[in-house]
């Protein structure tokens, strides 16, 4: 198990009900990690529609999860 920081944006923040949290995960990749969060918290979007950034760079979902990572979960936003 590793500890990872998660930051939620837009509709994900709304559905999760918070902006930021630290989680413990057994996921091997960040894609798996995001999928677990989507299922557990019913975030209502498939992983394929959520972009993940580590720090200030977008990352591929196959990137291995590492202790202390800061993951940003960014969904599309529609409102105008």
């Amino acid at each position: 198990m590793v500890r990872v920081n998660i930051r939620y944006f837009a509709v994900l923040r709304e559905r999760r009900g918070l902006s930021e949290e630290q989680i413990e995960t057994s996921a091997a990749t960040i894609g798996e990690c995001v999928n677990q969060l989507v299922v557990e918290h019913r975030l209502g979007l498939p992983v394929s529609l959520i972009r993940v950034a580590i720090g200030t760079d977008f990352a591929d979902e196959s990137t291995p999860v590492q202790e202390g990572m800061q993951l940003l979960l960014i969904p599309p936003v529609a409102g105008g």
Binding site: F9, A10, R13, T56, I74, G79, G80
Partner: protein, 474 residues
């Protein structure tokens, strides 16, 4: 003659129209004060040939624009006293709203377009010629208007000229446009295009502050154009009271230099991204959700919106202002940031090209992320949709399948083959057990639908390449 100039007191009798449900007659009066000074006398002078020609032209325009049955204008010339009638505008229409709107529109247009001047004589004996309408279009007035920004070394004469030569299209005239339009007009952008098919609603007004309460029920594009003209009468404004669609997008975007996406639909945002990419137009796109927003500047040579989100998300999946709520000031700020991006882009200053800014207005955190080209982007990867994705069918399949026309119910013509009609939005709520081929006008919507349903785990859905144009349907 619909436009009359007269040295005599005005007397315009209404003409009878059996079909008219509304007749509005407006009288403009000489009042005893102007800009804080006490007025005792007014004198009107015109360049009569031109004033009559312009006046008749704008009355005809009003007839067409508002579908009037009749419209007439009489304008006084010569010396008038306090309380005299200076102008009469009459409009008859089937319904009262058009008659009211037409009268106001005609009055505004007279002030902007018709060469009539007035000389005000004040209580202190001084008199001055003033243009009957807004500021006169004298060349040196621009010098004064833009003085404070031209002082910036990054603007100067050259930058100001570039701004005044620029044509900017606003797609969506709502909360974001309420933030972007005033600073764009104020900065001296030469021409603005406005695209929106909506009417002003009361629930818009907390964030769409271009509009007044009395604008409820009127076209957003027309009211926004009036706002722009009030701020800077010399600006050129083009209004399109229609929604951006696959059919009109290229035509609407083509004559502009910059495009601002102020829509609230993911479908339109991705369509605009594709069209701007095809036409090589820079696009500034922004969206808001509750207390936060996203903004990016997409230049023709940089990564696009679909590099960020390769799969076009269905519209209902991420919440809207109507379902999730939004603080009114949020789109205002993001819209102002869009205007800032366009102005910087025109001036050759750094923009959010290749970046995505996430703006949190609860904490005032701005997170900037580097956007990169994505090999999965169907637009930028260079691969044709048909070869890249197996479910974009070149022909109707040989196996047993259901054919579903996903266009809106009123779209013509009907397919000649047996089929069902289920509009795209309803398809998302259905489960397709049998192999299913979707068809739309061009193959674009059906492709997105199939792609999204596949992403959601449905393996038996297909899109017919080129839609109705596919030879298999002829």
């Amino acid at each position: 003659m619909s436009f009359i100039l007269s040295f005599e007191p005005l007397a315009l009798e209404p003409r009878e129209h059996a079909e008219a449900g509304g007749f509005v007659s407006f009288e403009g009066k000489v009042r005893n004060h102007a800009q804080g000074r006490s007025v005792i006398l007014l004198e009107y002078e015109a360049y009569p040939e031109m004033a009559t020609a312009q006046g008749n032209e704008l009355v005809e325009e009003a007839m067409e624009r508002f579908g009037l049955l009749d419209a007439r204008v009489a304008h006084r010339l010569g010396t008038l006293n306090i309380g005299d009638t200076a102008v009469v505008v009459q409009a008859a229409a089937a319904h009262r709203r058009e008659a009211f709107e037409a009268c106001e529109w005609i009055m505004d247009q007279i002030k902007w377009r018709v060469p009539i001047w007035k000389r005000e004589t004040y209580a202190d004996g001084v008199s001055e010629w003033v243009h009957a309408g807004s500021a006169p279009a004298e060349p040196h007035s621009d010098q004064i208007r833009f003085e404070r920004q031209m002082r910036l070394p990054q603007v100067g004469d050259v930058g100001q000229t570039n701004l005044q030569n620029a044509r900017v299209l606003l797609v969506g005239v709502g909360g974001l446009a309420a933030g972007s339009l005033p600073p764009l007009v104020g900065a001296g952008i030469g021409a603005i295009g406005l695209v929106d098919a909506d009417l002003v609603e009361l629930s818009n007004l907390h964030r769409q502050t271009l509009f007044a309460s009395s604008d409820a029920g009127r076209q957003k594009v027309e009211r926004a154009a009036a706002f722009a003209k009030r701020l800077r009468p010399a600006i050129e404004v083009e209004t399109h009271f229609e929604a951006l669609s696959e059919t009109n997008a290229t035509r609407l975007v083509d004559s502009f230099d910059w495009v601002l996406d102020g829509t609230d639909s993911l479908d339109t945002k991705f369509l605009l991204n594709e069209v701007c990419r095809k036409l090589g137009k820079p696009l500034v796109t922004a969206s808001v959700h509750q207390f936060e927003g996203q903004i990016m500047t997409i230049l023709p040579d940089g990564p696009c919106l679909q590099c960020l989100f390769p799969e076009v998300p269905p519209d209902h999946c991420v919440g809207t202002c109507a379902t999730s709520g939004v603080l009114g000031v949020v789109p205002g700020i993001l819209g102002a940031m869009q205007a800032n991006e366009v102005i910087k882009g025109i001036l050759g200053l750094p923009t959010l090209d290749r970046q995505l800014a996430l703006v949190d207005l609860l904490t005032l955190d701005v997170t900037r992320l580097e956007r990169i080209f994505n090999p999965k982007c169907p637009i930028c990867s260079g691969s044709e949709r048909s070869s890249a994705l197996e479910w974009d069918l070149q022909h109707l399949p040989t196996f047993d399948f259901d054919l579903i026309d996903i266009r809106e119910i009123d779209e013509q013509p009907n397919l000649k083959r047996p089929h069902q009609r289920i509009p795209m939005t309803s398809c998302y709520e259905q489960t397709f057990v049998r192999p299913t081929v979707f068809v739309c006008a061009t193959g674009r919507r059906s492709f997105r639908l199939a792609a999204n349903l596949r992403a959601a785990g449905n393996r038996h859905v297909f899109s017919l390449l080129d839609g109705l144009c596919n030879p298999a349907l002829k």
